[in-house]
């Protein structure tokens, strides 16, 4: 077992079941490295969202070990979790925007949670809204935004605080292909700045858009490794693309 030197996330033999039901994730073991770009694929119901919930600390596993940023987060007291969550950016599949806040305030929320002053917030939030093409919708509430616009607000909120790891659950599901590519470029730009990116998707075309990406595939709650993403040390990108293809 890796002692937690360079990896950003390490799962070791993790299993997850809800209540007394059967395991939705079984024997999940993998390591995510800083600055890498991962796609998590799999059919609907394969357990992608459950795995992401473990990644963004919304769920504790039923068994196994999870280390994040070198710390065992399973035994970490819950008071210690917020500090880890602030290092993550999350794009939820159902967006989870705060309904009575404007698009601007939704995007600003992670910065306010971190205790930044308003003077430090307004500029970056305005820039981010501009990047996702929602400057003219800054004051709109989520209920008045289209699905695609809500998704863009959710993405802007996830990346605004420059997280160490971005976890996105079907982030391009509700946007047109052009915007999907634009959002992927945003993720890549963030990735180049050092953020580890994990994108869950069942859109196989999306995988080809990021040649440097590593692919993890979930099938009925078990993980396979078509590009050697989980192998230690990871294979060179060229070899992965040739082998994994997708």
């Amino acid at each position: 077992m890796n002692a937690g030197g360079g990896e950003i996330v390490q799962f070791d033999n993790v299993g997850l079941r809800y209540g007394a039901g059967k395991e939705v994730l079984s024997d999940i073991s993998f390591t995510l490295y800083p600055g890498s770009f991962y796609f998590l694929t799999g059919a609907s119901g394969a357990g992608k969202t459950s795995l992401l919930k473990l990644l963004y600390l919304a769920q504790r596993p039923s068994r196994g070990m999870i280390r994040m940023f070198g710390t065992d987060v399973i035994t970490l007291p819950r008071a210690g979790l917020p500090a880890f969550r602030r290092r993550l950016g999350v794009v939820f599949q159902d967006f989870r925007l705060v309904p009575h806040l404007s698009a601007f305030d939704n995007v600003a929320l992670p910065l306010r949670v971190s205790g930044l002053r308003e003077s430090e917030i307004e500029g970056p939030v305005a820039d981010m809204l501009d990047w996702v093409g929602l400057t003219d919708r800054a004051d709109a509430r989520p209920a008045t935004l289209s699905g695609g616009e809500q998704q863009r607000v959710a993405i802007a909120r996830a990346v605004i605080a420059r997280p160490d790891m971005l976890v996105a659950d079907e982030p391009t599901g509700n946007v047109d292909p052009e915007m999907a590519v634009k959002l992927l470029r945003l993720f890549e730009a963030l990735n180049r700045l050092g953020t580890t990116v994990v994108v869950a998707t069942h859109d196989l075309h999306l995988l080809k858009k990021v040649p440097e990406s590593l692919i993890m595939r979930l099938d009925k709650g078990r993980l396979s490794d078509p590009t050697g993403a989980l192998r230690y040390p990871p294979r060179p990108p060229a070899a992965r693309q040739t082998e994994g293809g997708a």
Binding site: R85, R96, H100, L101, P110, R112, V113, R117, R157
Partner: protein
């Protein structure tokens, strides 16, 4: 963890506020008004008891229980004379017969016009001597008065005035405990109302709380949002409740003052009492905020 809160202007926006259009400030206003009235009642009773005790603390009553009116008058005059010259006695005066008749009129009826015989002639009424000592009445001092009167006024019975009012003081004490009980109950009810409101607000804002939680918001940050919201409601309710309570206290005070009873006149409220009443909304706001905080923290502990 001591993490910074959200910007003060933005914090409340995370939870939609009903303010005065919601029930919370009004529930607290009623609770605080009732608490103010109960506290005022308790303080007035304490003042009344204290004033009565002070008035009666040096008081003795000497009764000359003699059926023969001539002997009774003679013994009464002698007793007043002895007592007036006795060391430790500040004053001694006989209660006029007319005053006594007025006192017993409700029980024995009025004297008919032209009826020469006073009520006291038909029904022997003891002569009463009101005695003021220069200090508190103690058993040795009562005994000393008895001994001095024994030879000249053998029909004299000596009692401390405060002992007559012992049942009244006991009733006042019970009422004070009742007022205290009411205050405690009202405080508990207010806390319960806040608890229910906080739980309801938690329920209806659960998704928002989860989002803030997943974005790295701490329990303290989230609790502060609710605490602040309930605090603002409690301040509004406290101001309204104090105003309502003060009006009620003043009206009740005026009603009691109109009774013109000497004893009740001692039950007025002093500036310290009003200060205590004014502190009730402050205590209400604190109770509400602490209750909201504890409720929210307890609910958040059930989340990861």
């Amino acid at each position: 963890m001591n993490l910074p809160g959200f910007g003060a202007e933005r914090r409340a926006q995370l939870i939609p506020q009903a303010r005065l259009s919601g029930p919370m400030p009004w529930v607290l206003a009623i609770m605080i008004a009732m608490t103010a009235i109960a506290v005022a009642g308790g303080l007035a009773l304490a003042n009344l008891a204290s004033a009565a005790r002070a008035e009666l603390s040096g008081g003795l009553t000497v009764q000359i229980v003699e059926a023969d009116s001539v002997k009774r008058d003679r013994q009464a005059e002698l007793a007043v004379s002895v007592l007036s010259n006795m060391e430790g006695v500040a004053a001694a005066h006989r209660v006029p017969d007319a005053e006594l008749e007025t006192l017993i009129e409700p029980w024995l009826g009025e004297r008919e016009p032209g009826d020469a015989a006073a009520v006291g002639d038909a029904v022997p009424i003891p002569a009463l001597i009101d005695v003021r000592l220069d200090g508190p009445v103690t058993q040795p001092r009562i005994r000393a008065v008895r001994d001095r009167l024994a030879s000249g006024a053998p029909a004299a019975r000596v009692d401390a005035q405060s002992s007559w009012l012992a049942p009244v003081f006991s009733a006042i004490s019970s009422l004070q405990w009742l007022a205290l009980g009411l205050v405690v109950l009202l405080a508990a009810t207010s806390a319960a109302a806040v608890w229910l409101a906080a739980r309801s607000a938690l329920g209806s804002n659960r998704s928002t709380i989860e989002i803030v939680h997943l974005l790295g918001g701490t329990d303290s940050q989230i609790a502060r949002i609710f605490q602040r919201s309930v605090g603002i409601d409690a301040v509004l309710g406290g101001i309204a409740g104090l105003a309502l309570g003060t009006i009620a206290i003043l009206l009740l005070g005026r009603q009691f003052a109109a009774l013109g009873s000497g004893m009740i006149a001692g039950g007025g409220l002093g500036w310290r009492d009003w200060l205590l009443i004014a502190a009730i909304p402050v205590a209400g706001v604190l109770i509400a905020m602490i209750t909201a905080r504890l409720t929210v923290l307890a609910a958040l502990r059930r989340m990861l």
